[in-house]
Amino acid sequence: MSGTIRAGLLLAAAVLGAGVARARLVALEAPSAGPKDLLYLPNGKYLRAASLGQAPVAADLVYFWAIQYYSDYQRADRFRYIEHVFGSVIPELDPRFIDPYWLGALILTTEAADLEGGLRLLDLGAAKNPGEWVLPFLAGWECDHAKEYDRAAAYFDRAARIPGAPAALVRLVAGMRARGENLREAIAKWNEVLADPRGDDASHAIAERQVRTLTVRADLKDLEAAVVTFRELRGAPPRRLEELVHAGILSRLPLDPDGKPYRYDPATGAVTSDASRVLGS
């Protein structure tokens, strides 16, 4: 047997042996017991020091790894360290890296149903990047999905005040105020939109319609509440709306956006408006 054949056989045997041993090692590997691999992910401060001037790339690599990690839906307890990864490790390495804040928040709010955790990530991102309107904007949408309209309005308002934010964000603030039944605040915001010289015709038309609709809604709400108060005080509903003013419950009777008085049915206590009917509400 020549030397070449012997060497070839030895090489083949070595490759085969290594292959078999590796397969055995894989078979012996214990099943993953959850996110223990995350337990030892160092703090971003230490990773930053260890990256020797390559912190942005280290942030990218952790982000890549996190995307793959959180794409595995079979992992048990997969949300336990999510704030550590997206809210500590990556921001320490690259605080201006925006995407991890919203991606981590999206996973928390959508998959883990943890609104507060998601908002903490977005708040952290906004604190580290005060010029980025998109983070409070996304926080606003998360609150909207959770039907927390006042918080949504506060986030949209914060986003709208950041230089460079689209002017249309004020419309979202107004919309959220209306959804939260803070109708007078919503009207004030729509009036801001109406007065904004940067707005286009469509924006002004939307604002005008909203002011009309919301004014009617707010007036009807106030009048109906006043009728209820009157009935509680006098034991019977008022015969005319003017009695609400005489009783000192209202300082004056509002008129609808067309300048007409609101209609009142003493039999049912219902207050209606021609303007509201015209507007379809």
């Binding site: 020797l52 390559q54 942005p56 790339v57 982000y63 995307i67 793959q68 201006r96 995407d99 991606l103």
Partner: protein, 254 residues
Amino acid sequence: MRAMVAVALNTFREAIRDRVLYLILAVALLVVAGSRFVAMLTVGSEVKIVKDLGLAAVSIFGLLIAVFVGTALVSKEIERRTVYTLLAQPIARWQFVAGKYAGLFLVLAANVLVVGGSVLAAVALMGESPVALVPAVVLILVELAVVAAFAVLFSSFTNPILAAVGTVAVYVAGHLSWSFDLLRKRVTTGAARTLCDVLHAVLPNLDRLDVKADAVHGIAIPASTFAAAAAYGAFYALAVVVLACVVFERREFA
């Protein structure tokens, strides 16, 4: 001066004939080209990934060139005994060392030009202006100039392996020099504090030359900061090269 230029050009020519240099350059360009594919793995931030990986390639592969080429520059001449022929010529020892350094700097500048230029082109092809990256690329070259100066210094009195270890150690220490300032606040004895002060002041503060994170996010580097950082690196490198010349002047050859 003419002798120094001749040594520099010769060093440059010799280095660009080296296969190791081409290997490093090829891998660096591969990283830059591959960064576009790597960026597909991310959610958003594709251009940021390309910029990050590209600038890291300029920096890391430049460091490899500074270490592998720089640490052998002087010691190889001594090992091959060609230094005797060279020093028999009308050339001062300091001119020899300074020429070697200048040649190495040219190699590094060419590397930064090729790899950095590729990064800027890749970013421009993705539809973003690469202008904000230029100061970061220039300061990477300044950082490499400092590291190369140490490579030449170590190469002037020890063998390539020890010189490589020393150069890498300076690079690591240079990026951790802030820790001496931190340590100073923790230690209580006067001598230890003085040692921390000295190390913090003497070691190159390479983090001061690192503006990659700002550049990637499009934050303009103030001209005064850029000028101060470039001047710091340039004067530091000059001081180390002068030290290398002094060491080589005093060295005795058997």
